[in-house]
């Protein structure tokens, strides 16, 4: 005669064994994937590339004309749209500084502004383990001539770009 209680107990023990084996396998798999996975972060390089593309688009011969109607933001938007450089997925900030008047500054912002907010709030606290989930940014400065003909001014064009996390 088969002892039903013993059979049930053995069945439960089998399930328990299976669970132990599965958990051990998962732990080894998890730790191996933690050690063997490596994230290559190229977003700061991408930011530099896009900054250089922005300067090539706005001031290809290192001179920026300011003969526009309306705001600096709209003028920059028009120029950058022609070069196909505005995207909602990344952040782009263009700042123009005048040597003759250090207090004067023109600024235009495009794309996902949340990226810059996250970057600013996380600066100094980002650990290398989770740094990949924070935006990758770069800031480039270029000396340019602002204006045309007789009314030429020296200045600096600062381009800041941020890219979000992408696997």
């Amino acid at each position: 005669m088969i002892n039903k209680h013993a059979a049930t107990g053995e069945g439960i023990l089998n399930i328990y064994r299976m669970l132990i084996v599965t958990i051990i396998a998962l732990v080894i798999l998890g730790s191996s994937s933690l050690f063997y996975n490596y994230y290559i972060d190229i977003r700061s390089v991408e930011s530099v590339i896009i900054s250089k593309q922005v300067i090539n688009c706005l001031a290809p011969d290192a001179s920026l004309s300011l003969d526009f109607m309306g705001s600096f933001q709209d003028a920059m938007k028009e120029k950058l749209s022609k070069c196909n450089l505005i995207s909602e997925s990344r952040y782009l900030r263009i700042m123009l500084f005048f040597d003759s008047d250090p207090k004067r500054e023109l600024s235009a912002v495009f794309g996902n502004t949340a990226l810059n907010t996250i970057k600013s709030s996380s600066s100094g606290t980002v650990k290398s383990v989770n740094a990949r989930y924070f935006p990758g940014c770069a800031s480039e400065q270029y000396r340019i001539i602002i204006g045309e003909n007789s009314n030429k001014l020296d200045g600096v064009l600062n381009v800041e770009a941020c890219f979000p996390y992408d696997n």
Binding site: I2, E10, M18, A25, L29, S32, I42, L85, S89
Partner: protein, 122 residues
């Protein structure tokens, strides 16, 4: 009668052991397949190729052609795709790729022959 019961019990035990071995074998096989995929670092190789290509595309001027050998230094690229502004590379018989986004201002096309892939920036 006792002998018959003993035989049944033995058969039952044997059946349970075989079943247990099959399940453990399956778990082990799944585990080794996944671990092998991680250990041979195909994912990292794939990442390297995709990101290298994305950076080349991003920085390339118009009318540029890149030639990428299928027998790449990071493994054999058995397939490469460009869709939705993303580049996908499948290294050493990989089946899955999330791809990597590029942002070229120009139109990007991909062609392949028996030995190479060609990326056209038009």
């Amino acid at each position: 009668m006792k002998k018959l019961l003993l035989k049944r019990k033995k058969a039952n035990m044997l059946y349970q052991i075989i079943l247990q071995l099959i399940i453990v074998g399956l778990i082990a096989a799944l585990f080794f397949a996944s671990a092998l995929n991680k250990v041979n670092s195909r994912g990292v190789k794939q990442q390297v190729i995709e990101k290298q290509m994305a950076l080349l595309i991003d920085s390339a001027p118009q009318n540029t052609i890149f030639t990428i050998k299928k027998q790449h230094v990071n493994g054999y690229i058995n397939n490469m795709e460009i869709r939705d502004s993303r580049i996908f590379a499948y290294v050493d018989d990989q089946k899955i790729s999330k791809g990597y986004a590029y942002f070229s201002r120009y139109s990007v096309e991909l062609k392949a022959d028996e030995q190479n892939y060609y990326i056209f920036i038009k």
